[in-house]
């Protein structure tokens, strides 16, 4: 019996998953909304049955009319409850990155043309959130939280948007898998590996690039994370392109972080160790570069450099994600 139920649930779950593939943006309609009378609705129908029997036994037309009226309201409320969800627009937003084991926030957006009431947003292992009212044309950002257990891409959890408005006899809900992922960085742990000063074969290339007369030595395009005070506003006013003044080259040597330095450790511990070093370098304010088996980050410093490094560590070894990292490099 229990097995049968499990099997049924599994089948149902599979069916629901096929009906609700990950979506960046979704406008709820017949295909997405599930609707079913709940036990409170069943209770109402029981009362209606009681009234019908009472009206029949007493041959009282008004009691019958009341019973019919409640039935009509019940059927109508299927429509009303459906309407309270249909047309609601859900849009994936930004997923913040974070370390494994730390809470990660995924922002999602709700938008509606019409006013809606009493929406309950919940998710797998999410606290329920109650949206009493969504006014017409209102835009609401919700933030859902997950705690990644391993590094890599961390998809946003599946959300369930439910409503019982107006009368609570019918439950309409939808499942939505927002097509958005955060990146879970490995935890920085100092496993005590010794950093050997390996010569970076590509360092030379970097220098060449740096010496390129076309590329201004200390001016580069703005990228998110650069401090505001470094923005060259005059440059922006003239050309309409945000540019920042690169930090002055550190007085000290450039630290080359390399996965070959941690071959003694297992793969994950090695990444944790590299992560520790990245944060260490970042804190120290020195230039650093990162080499992974299939990735290379040129020397640099600052927030942007740190984020790129951490992302690379998180995605190391997962092919598609890594391609994305490569492109990032190319784009910068």
């Amino acid at each position: 019996m229990g097995m049968l139920r499990d099997a049924t649930e599994a089948t149902l779950e599979r069916w629901i998953r096929t009906r609700t593939p990950p979506r960046t943006r979704i406008r709820l309609g017949q295909r997405q909304i599930f609707i079913i009378p709940n036990r409170y609705g069943m209770g109402l129908l029981l009362l209606v049955l009681l009234l019908f029997v009472m009206g029949t036994n007493y041959q009282n037309n008004l009691v019958l009319a009341l019973a019919f009226w409640l039935v009509a309201l019940f059927v109508l409320s299927i429509h009303l409850t459906y309407l309270n969800l249909s047309g609601l627009q859900l849009q994936a937003g930004h997923s913040a990155s974070g370390f494994v084991g730390a809470p990660m926030q995924h922002a999602v957006h709700l938008h509606s043309q019409r006013p809606r009431y009493g929406l309950l947003v919940s998710g797998d292992e999410q606290p329920e959130r109650w949206l009493d009212e969504l006014a017409a044309q209102e835009h609401v950002q919700l933030s859902v939280q997950t705690t990644p257990q391993q590094r890599g891409l961390q998809p946003a959890p599946r959300l369930r948007v439910e409503t019982r408005f107006p009368f609570g006899w019918i439950t309409a809900w939808t499942y939505w898998l927002p097509d958005q992922q955060g990146i879970a960085w490995p935890v920085p742990v100092d496993h005590g590996a010794q950093r050997t000063a390996t010569e970076d074969p590509e360092a030379q290339q970097t220098t060449a690039w740096r010496n390129d007369p076309e590329a201004l030595d200390d001016v580069r395009e703005y990228s998110p994370g650069d401090p505001q005070r470094r923005i060259l506003w005059r440059h922006y006013a003239r050309r309409g392109v945000l540019a920042v003044k690169a930090p002055p080259p550190a007085g000290g040597e450039t630290r080359h972080l390399d996965s070959r330095q941690v071959v003694d450790l297992d793969r994950e511990s090695g990444l944790q160790q590299l992560c520790w070093w990245v944060l260490e370098c970042d804190a120290a304010g020195t230039d650093w570069s990162l080499r992974l088996p299939d990735y290379w980050l040129p020397p640099g410093r600052g927030e942007h450099q740190r984020l790129q490094g951490l992302d690379a560590l998180a995605l190391s070894g997962s092919a598609p994600a890594h391609r994305s990292g490569k492109k990032k490099e190319a784009a910068t």
Binding site: T24, R25, G43, L44, L47, L51, V53, M54, T56, N57, Y58, Q59, N60, N61, L62, V63, L64, A65, L66, A67, F68, W69, V71, A72, L73, V75, S77, Q89, Q91, H94, A96, Q105, A107, H111, Y117, G118, L120, S122, P127, R129, W130, D132, E133, Q137, E138, H139, V140, Q141, S143, R164, F165, P166, F167, G168, S223, P224, G225, K327, K328, A331
Partner: protein
């Protein structure tokens, strides 16, 4: 943001839910109080008053909520109190009272979502059961309002902070009104079933109407009541006013002062059988439809010489009348047909004959000797009856509602030969006794005489004040013959309304009604409009039964076969839905013609290429956003936006041209694609610029 967890973990109501739902449910409870006050023992209303004020004190933080002990003792004590208060646990109103108390107590201890829901269901139930006790137009509208309030409370329960009181009420009122046509459809089309089992009835309520005992001597002044007894509508011609004898029952047994139906306690089973007589050959017939008021009595008055009737609960009694199986407790319909004369049985059954000859052994000696004298002179029973009628006509008898009392065993002698003041029952009773004293079978018949016609003559209203008594006597060869001695004393009583027949003194005691000719004209019209509304309500709502249903459906669809009309209804519903969605679809499309449609197409293309574009921004803003990422696309988009804007809002003369331009630019735009490879990546960077997410959700209008 509220963390109101309604139905999963922890069923407790959140604070705003509790307060706001409670307010509305208290209103609903308050609405239950007036009908309960009118229909049930008044002290019941004290319960919600006490629990309500307690709750009020709890809300203000002065008192503590009731403990388990208090709640349980209330649950146990209150039904006991009901029984002690004189309500019978088998009667209907006991259960109504119980449900009413249930609402008060459940509301008193309301803490959870389930409680609130249960209160709403119980309130529906109380409203419904009160409908069993009162089915007037006003109360029905009142129930309509009460249920709407209950629904508003539910709407508020599900959006505690989001919806205003007015908004909640508007939501529920809209739903309620939309549901009405569906209710009417079900009401007309849903098959009416016969009662499934016997239900407990309401405790007896005293109502006026005809009593089955009559003691004329003791009545000094006849009270006049305007209480409605029935309304009747004739199909086709109606009998003349003086022939409107509505016969309710016969009084056969006289013990010297008091008349009762039979010598025993009431009609026995063997008296309730048989069929109405057939109409006499070539006799005029009248068919009519009556709506009987709930008189809480089993007997009903029908036009004399009833030949056929249609009512499931009616039984034919041996003294030619209808008796209901139960006391009439709700307006009841009756379709019947009466003839001017009926074929009479040749033989009078022995039991009936004995009852019609019964007489006290002593008393009223003068009456007996006078009757014996006349009988000796008369050559037939008929002549004897006519001799008595002549006596009433010739002597100085006066019709009055205030005859004073005639006491003792010889009271009728006093009336006949001394004071000669009386109303219908006095004359009828004296005549019956005179006939019986000479062994002519006779009986007292009570019922109603005449009635008040609506101005347009569509129906006649009969009230308690139209009560009348007359005589039937058995004439060999002719059967039962009616004699009405009142008619010869006060002929106006038969042809006009009651007030015409009364003296001025009597006029003062007779209560008026606004439909009378004495009332001002506008009041009469208003009165009759209201009366006909009530007639319509009782005829077409309260008494809409299976027969009406099939005849109505037959009128509409021609064929009473259930399959046919079911498919009509099904087809109708499908038609309604298809039309509804068709209209929705078309109006959805219709908004998108011309430039708006071009804009929609353009936006759709942009969103496909750049899914991250915020939907709430315009084309120009999009073009600005895309400027860095794909200048070519952005340029084309802003050109398109310019044309669309000019086509929509520019000078009317140029709109057509601009629309053409916009269409061309849309074609160009559609050929452009977002650089696929960079899309997701740039998206992420774009998002990075956004504000840091916080646990709270942020809102922007």
């Amino acid at each position: 943001m509220t963390e109101a967890r309604i139905w999963r973990r922890g069923p407790q109501l959140s604070a705003p839910q509790w307060q706001r739902v409670l307010t509305l449910l208290l209103v609903v409870q308050f609405m239950l109080m007036p009908p309960v006050l009118m229909m049930l023992p008044a002290w019941l209303v004290l319960i919600p008053v006490v629990t309500g004020s307690w709750q009020w004190q709890v809300l203000r933080g002065r008192w503590r909520p009731p403990g388990r002990a208090v709640r349980w003792s209330l649950v146990l004590a209150l039904p006991l109190l009901l029984v002690l208060g004189g309500m019978h646990p088998g009667a209907l109103d006991f259960y109504v009272a119980l449900a009413f108390i249930g609402v008060a107590l459940k509301l008193f201890e309301m803490r959870t979502y389930r409680d609130a829901w249960l209160v709403s269901l119980m309130a529906f139930f109380v409203f419904a059961t009160l409908l069993l006790l009162d089915q007037g137009i006003f109360y029905s509208l009142y129930v309509f309002l009460g249920v709407s309030f209950c629904l508003a409370a539910l709407a508020r329960l599900h959006a505690p902070r989001g919806i205003s009181l007015l908004g909640a009420w508007r939501t529920s009122a809209r739903a309620v009104l939309i549901a009405v046509p569906f209710m009417l459809l079900l009401f007309v089309a849903f098959p009416r079933l016969p009662p499934i089992w016997q239900m407990p009835m309401a405790s007896e309520q005293a109502r006026t109407g005809l009593s089955d005992t009559l003691s004329t001597g003791g009545i000094a002044q006849l009270a006049q009541s305007n209480e409605l007894i029935f309304r009747a509508r004739f199909d086709g011609a109606a009998p003349p006013q003086s022939e409107l004898y509505w016969r309710a029952m016969t009084l056969n047994h006289f013990d010297g002062t008091r008349w009762t139906q039979w010598s025993g306690s009431g009609p026995t089973a063997d008296l309730l059988q048989g069929e109405p007589p057939a109409p006499a050959a070539a006799a005029e017939q009248w068919s009519y439809e009556m709506i009987l008021a709930p008189t809480a009595q089993p007997w009903v008055a029908t036009l004399e010489h009833l030949t056929t009737y249609q009512a499931a609960d009616a039984r034919w009694a041996v003294d030619n009348r209808l008796v209901w199986r139960e006391n009439l407790r709700r307006p009841t319909g009756l379709t019947a047909r009466s003839a001017r004369t009926v074929a009479q049985a040749d033989e009078l059954p022995t039991g009936v004959r004995q009852a019609a000859l019964q007489m006290p052994s002593a008393g009223n000696p003068q009456l007996r000797s006078q009757a014996a004298d006349w009988y000796a002179e008369a050559d037939s029973d008929l002549a004897m009856a006519e001799r008595i009628m002549d006596f009433f006509a010739d002597e100085d008898f006066r019709y009055t509602l205030q005859p004073g009392t005639y006491g003792g065993a010889d009271g009728i002698d006093e009336f006949l030969f001394d004071r000669r003041l009386g109303f219908c029952a006095h004359y009828a009773e004296a005549m019956v006794l005179m006939l019986r004293s000479v062994d002519i079978p006779a009986r007292l018949v009570t019922g109603y005489m005449g009635g008040q016609w609506r101005e347009d003559g569509s129906y006649v209203v009969v009230r308690a004040r139209e009560a009348h008594a007359w005589v039937e006597t058995w004439i060999e060869g002719q059967g039962w013959v009616r004699f009405d001695p009142t008619g010869v004393v006060a002929p106006d009583r038969l042809t006009g309304s009651l007030s015409d027949a009364l003296t001025d003194d009597d006029q003062a005691t007779a209560s008026d009604n606004w439909g009378d000719t004495t009332a001002p004209g506008w009041l009469q019209r208003l009165y009759w409009q209201w009366d006909s509304a009530q007639y319509g309500w009782q005829r077409w709502v309260l008494n809409f039964d299976a027969d009406d249903q099939s005849s109505l459906l037959e009128d509409w669809f021609g064929d009473p076969a259930p399959g046919v009309w079911l498919s009509w209804i099904g087809g109708g519903l499908i038609f309604i839905f298809v039309t509804w969605y068709g209209v929705q679809y078309l109006t959805g499309r219709a908004r998108l013609w011309g430039a708006s449609r071009l804009e929609m197409l353009g936006r759709r293309h942009c969103r496909r290429q750049w899914p991250e574009l915020p939907p709430n921004e315009g084309l120009t803003q999009w073009a600005r956003r895309l400027h860095n990422r794909s200048p070519e696309f952005a340029d084309q988009l802003s050109a398109f936006a310019e044309a669309v804007l000019a086509a929509r809002y520019g000078p009317p003369a140029g709109q057509k041209q601009q629309r053409r331009l916009a269409r061309q630019r849309l074609q160009t735009l559609r050929r452009l694609r977002a650089p696929r490879a960079r899309e997701t990546d740039e998206h992420r960077q774009q998002e990075d610029q956004g504000t840091a997410t916080a646990l709270q959700s942020s809102r922007d209008q």
